[in-house]
Point group: C2
Chain length 267, copies 2
């Protein structure tokens, strides 16, 4: 079992990624695709007059401020625009993909953060009307049901709270949760950087290998959004995923490139 | 097997419909829910600066002009906003719903209209860049897979063409195709009118019963959007669905009200 996360930053060529995902899937590899959509969410939120806001937690992690209106925009972009265009592209490449969000069939179930402690303009504040959370359970039965019937699941990183509220969850950590609950051998996290960089943004300082036991030590090299990727990787290897690769979505055949060891390999 | 279509016009209380759908499903009735979203699509299209356009075919049917940008907005509203809020509501009511579009798993496959003959300002024109079509095949295996595992499928009326392009399809006719391919005993079409009216919009002129063999004769009473509902009903009964009911989504317990015979019953 292989889990692939493809990021949602500006300028990624999803059709090229889907073409390569299709080749790997058609080669007989069972796989699950998780996608991002943050850039498009920002664009649409701006167009709809509800501009994106980001908050930094007291521990230094950046996340999207998700009031109910933002959650709705997030659903439109992730489950509508992104998910369906990826499913359509995979179908064009001959793969019978099925798009789901974590809300569907309680695929990703977790804990909504009842209060988020953030720092705004240097001052601590507590947000209580935020629809974000973390994944605790994965409905592996639903995924196995679809995989056994030959479908490729394409998952939007929303989740459902234990109280049945839709929530925004981090895509990298959702992919890590899926990989560990599905006992995947490997998790590939594709984005618009070649991997973890010792001196961001200098791509020549790519870290090629991290021993699984030392992932957390490397957290200090992670800038901004990369922090959640490293956190997801740490969670995945701790929970038994054999190998996590941070790799470049912009190269030719990005999935097979990552499988062959290009990028930052954690194992 | 029961198929329910709930319309997408202004002012429908989806949460009330979902509460009733949940009661019927929890009573042991296998069912599939198909939803609309035209009003919200108009609102979002307007907000995004790509206002909705409607065209009238030479045979008098009104449909949404669907260029590629409209298709994307349609996906955002139907698969994102509408579908996920319905799934969330059903989950709150204790039903393990799974939202899908007709693109997913090639659930609804059909023929894209390569050219649409329309009348604009009294003159005939041919549109060639439209992403609309009609459903020909239904992936009943995928629906049975989910139903057997206890899930309630919630379907957005998009379809995939035989050439793997996403398309907008009419929701009422998609529901009719699902009902006939799934050998449903009954199809309930809920909207913001009490049924087919002899003198639209006078609700006291409700037509209570139409013999299956005579549906097409009643087409003359159908105004605007109602035409596709009557066409869908005619297709469903011709293909073996025992009973089609046009009923009011705005009443208390709308599904059980329709099941008990309120509305326009075709059988």
């Amino acid at each position: 079992m292989l889990v692939i996360k493809v990021g949602g930053r500006k300028g990624l060529d999803y059709d090229a990624v889907c073409a390569d995902v299709a080749k790997v899937f058609q080669g007989g590899q069972q796989l699950i695709l998780v996608h991002g959509g943050s850039y498009q969410t920002n664009v649409v939120a701006q167009q709809l007059g509800h501009p994106p806001q980001f908050v930094t937690s007291v521990s230094g992690y950046v996340s999207r401020r998700t009031d109910r209106r933002t959650l709705e925009i997030f659903e439109m972009v992730y489950c509508g625009k992104m998910n369906k265009s990826i499913v359509e592209s995979l179908q064009k490449h001959g793969v019978n993909a099925v798009g789901l969000s974590g809300i569907d069939g309680r695929l990703l179930e977790g804990k909504r953060k009842s209060a988020i402690k953030v720092v705004i303009d240097g001052r601590k504040r507590v947000l209580r009307d935020d629809y974000t959370g973390t994944v605790v359970q994965v409905n592996t039965e639903l995924l196995h049901l679809l995989l056994s019937a030959g479908y490729l699941p394409v998952i939007s990183p929303l989740a459902i709270s234990f109280e049945s509220e839709a929530m925004n969850v981090d895509g990298d950590r959702a992919a890590a949760a899926i990989a560990s609950h599905m006992n995947a051998e490997q998790l590939i996290i594709l984005s618009n950087v070649p991997g973890l960089l010792r001196e961001f943004p200098d791509e020549s300082t790519l870290i090629r290998h991290i021993p699984a036991a030392q992932v957390e030590k490397y957290m200090s090299y992670a800038e901004g959004r990369m922090k959640k990727k490293v956190m997801g990787a740490a969670e995945a290897v701790q929970q038994g995923v054999g190998r996590v690769v941070f790799a470049d979505a912009r190269v030719a055949d990005p999935v097979r490139s990552a499988l062959s060891g290009n990028g930052t390999v954690i194992e």
